[in-house]
């Protein structure tokens, strides 16, 4: 093909106007990528890769999601293997004031201790 790009000018079998069919699974399945920036940190979800299998998914994850970031480890998992809540149900995560028993602020002991100490001193 006549091209200003010598790389393209050299290609054999390149023809304008011939449109190939892209098959339904030509790019494999998707894998979710988890990236750990530092030892001691959690792996965090950073995106997706298309790959024919987990081994290549890892090979790809490293360059697509690790090439500019500090990285010590990565995971990939098939998207199909992830279970998630529907967003429709996200109201169930809303918290009511009664949940104060789970919060540190829900426990105030200092008053009792002070009162006890005062009583002992008498």
């Amino acid at each position: 093909m006549d091209s200003l790009d010598p790389r393209i000018a050299r290609l054999h079998d390149i023809r304008a106007g011939e449109v190939p069919t892209v098959g339904a699974h030509d790019y494999g399945e998707t894998y979710e990528v988890f990236h750990q920036a530092k030892r001691g940190k959690h792996h965090a979800h950073v995106g997706t890769v298309h790959a024919p299998d987990p081994e290549l998914a890892l090979v790809y994850a490293k360059e697509q999601y690790g090439r500019r970031q500090q990285t010590v480890n990565m995971w990939v998992v098939r998207t199909a293997d992830i279970f998630a809540f529907p967003y429709d149900d996200s109201d169930m995560f809303d918290s009511t004031p009664q949940k104060i028993h789970r919060e540190a602020a829900g426990y105030k002991t200092r008053d009792k201790i002070e009162a006890y100490k005062k009583k002992q001193a008498q």
Binding site: S3, D5, R15, H25, G28, E32, T48, H50, D53
Partner: protein, 328 residues
Amino acid sequence: MYGGGYIPEEEKRKQQHMEEDPAKLAEFEARIDNGEKIEPHDWMPAEYRKQLIRMIEQHAHSEIIGSLPEGTWITRAPSFKRKMALIAKVQDEIGHGQLLYNAAETLGKSREQMMQDLLTGKSKYSNVFNYPAKTWADVAVIGFLIDAAAIVNQVANSKGSYGPYSRALERICYEESFHLKQGHDAFVALATGTESQRAMLQDAVNRWYRPIIHFFGPSDKDSVHTGKLMRWKVKMMTNDAMRNQFLSSYVPKVWELGLSFPDPKLHKDDNGEWHFSDPNWDEFYQVIKGNGPCNAERLAVRSWVETQHKWIREALFNPNAKYTLPLS
């Protein structure tokens, strides 16, 4: 890189007739008004989904096709620094395509289908990449000015309402700042270099001026359609506002180097608004239709990629593969 988000007229007419459940629509719009993001499995109006797919898909195609004009100079970049920067930049653009196809996939269209629609010409991409990169100076102009224009567009869109698109754009904008820097560096090197380098650069600026004015698309500030897309935070700024922002930031940076644009009418008025000569929107529509100088080559290259590697896909094909939309 990216431009426009062009919507054909007939498409606009079709969309006016879609009816949505008013209660769900109200809840959806309230979420957007609240500054919350929409996530992939949320209820969303059909038109919102459709417009987002179109826009993100066009953006993704623009990234991978956009790698071709600059790729023209990969084997000829004139120093280690330029060679490494150019390969890394083109690689980033492919990476942007990858991120954006993923974001579009969360809305229900597979990457395979998007690629097919690109190859048949059904889906569009930014016109600017249908122009040739004739000299090394074109690489500098693209890396500086086209990436700058893309940044204006992408920074605006990153504040949009769709979660996966915003997330992808955040990372993309971070990488674009490197593109802009290296582009400006190459641009300044030519502008402050020898006579022949300056001449080469001025010639490239002249040739890219019209595609750059076209980049943000025709004026759409009076379109009803734009109003709705802005209401839903699919589109964040009008084409004119983006173009004006771009011209304000970058025209002075070209002028300060003693270079010019081939348009005597180009100037900023006292209200900060830029004016320019009629950029021949007819040419813009012609290029969209496939009649630009490089449309055929760009698509031939992507078709070659698919055909050439068919045997690899067949060898790796997994009959048990299950198609699942990416999660986020």
